[in-house]
Symmetry: C2
Subunit: 236 residues, 2 copies
């Protein structure tokens, strides 16, 4: 299933939402705790569905550079009415918006990252803003060596500036960086920039009721069930 | 000696060179290991003396945006002849230039940061580039929550963009950030942006033979001998 590793990477760059943390389950729990009658799973999916179109408005130039915290808030305000939540006040909206800072890791995440950190530099490479990623890591105990974000490069994935930016920051060749992600499109974009790639299966990313296709793509350098399996494959 | 803390900060932002790590002793040791006859202390002082003028050339617009790694290399090439080191080849120069990635922490640094991390978000705020700061942290075991650098803000300290950038990244008020530094000018610039400030005595920053004035300035929020004393004052 896995190609021969040409050479070990020096830096592992991780996609975060869905790959490191369970956004669907975490957002569903937060909104149901706030208002027990709401369908938390549907709410999480609706919020996340606004994410790519919102980033597209920035990348097209329709909106100026905008942090994900602010995009999340625009989407939140737009979906509250359809879930009967338009009575939420400003303080409640601000708190709910920061649910993205409080996402829970998958069960293997912390142990897997800790093993991978013993041999590689491990960094985020997320469209999430630096503050969001740092707050999330502190709460969840994610042991990053570095927090890299679209905010550093002023471009969202899948822009090449982000993938090549990791290589530039660490002064290594693109193929000395491996992107680790649960999304084939993210990995394909990284590969086109010369990065190595590792696909991680996260079948419950959209909820246990909506299992995701986790078929391997032979174009990836590695394919692993989770971070522990990835650590095994990378010899740590 | 210390003013009453109005309110505890949420984020501690640390100057790095001299405050967290001993650049003088580390650079002196590296160059003496490479060429035993060289006066390592004088070499370290000469290299560091080129640092502010080089940043000034960037801030004035004479040079475009340049990472500290590249400024360090320009200065290195310019001082090698006066130390009889102009015979160093390209690979040796590249390796020596990255001595700034291998600076040793002060004896209290790791234990102090670990205590401070238990209660506050701890981040770098250094003119050093992200790769340099990350490599340094990984080697020395510095437990940062986040690695912020002039590279993120595209401005060097003492530009206000850097101090206010920390508050913006973490979505807090300027006075919810405390700059921790061994340099009064850095602290004064942070204070003029509304940050709280903590001065750390590092009397041997320029070598034990050149003790530094570590007198308190009543304008700082706190004054501490080292990071353990700072943790004590901040209740952790």
């Amino acid at each position: 299933m896995n190609k021969q590793l040409a050479a070990l990477p020096k830096v592992l760059a991780f996609d975060v939402f869905g790959t490191v943390v369970d956004w669907h389950g975490s957002i569903a729990r937060e909104v149901q705790a706030l208002r027990p009658g709401v369908d938390g799973g549907a709410f999480a999916l609706a919020w996340r569905a606004g994410y790519r179109p919102a980033m597209q408005r920035v990348m097209s130039g329709e909106l100026g550079w905008t942090l994900i915290d602010d995009l999340h808030r625009m989407i939140l305000d737009s979906i509250l009415p359809q879930f009967g939540l338009d009575d939420l006040g400003e303080a409640q909206r601000q708190h709910l918006n920061k649910a993205w800072h409080r996402l829970d890791p998958w069960p293997d995440t912390v142990a897997g990252l800790t093993r991978l950190k013993s041999r590689f530099t491990i960094t985020t490479l997320s469209n999430g803003n630096i503050g969001l990623l740092t707050n999330m890591a502190k709460r969840a105990g994610l042991p990053w060596d570095c927090v890299l974000s679209a905010e550093v490069f002023r471009a969202y994935k899948p822009s090449p500036e982000t993938y090549l930016g990791v290589a530039r920051v660490f002064d290594v060749a693109p193929d000395e960086v491996m992107l680790v992600a649960a999304h084939q499109d993210d990995l394909a974009a990284a590969r086109s920039c010369g990065l190595q790639t590792a696909y991680i299966e996260r079948p419950a990313e959209f909820g246990a009721a909506n299992p995701k296709d986790v078929s391997p793509d032979a174009a990836n350098t590695l394919h692993a069930k989770d971070f522990l399996a990835l650590a095994e494959q990378l010899g740590c």
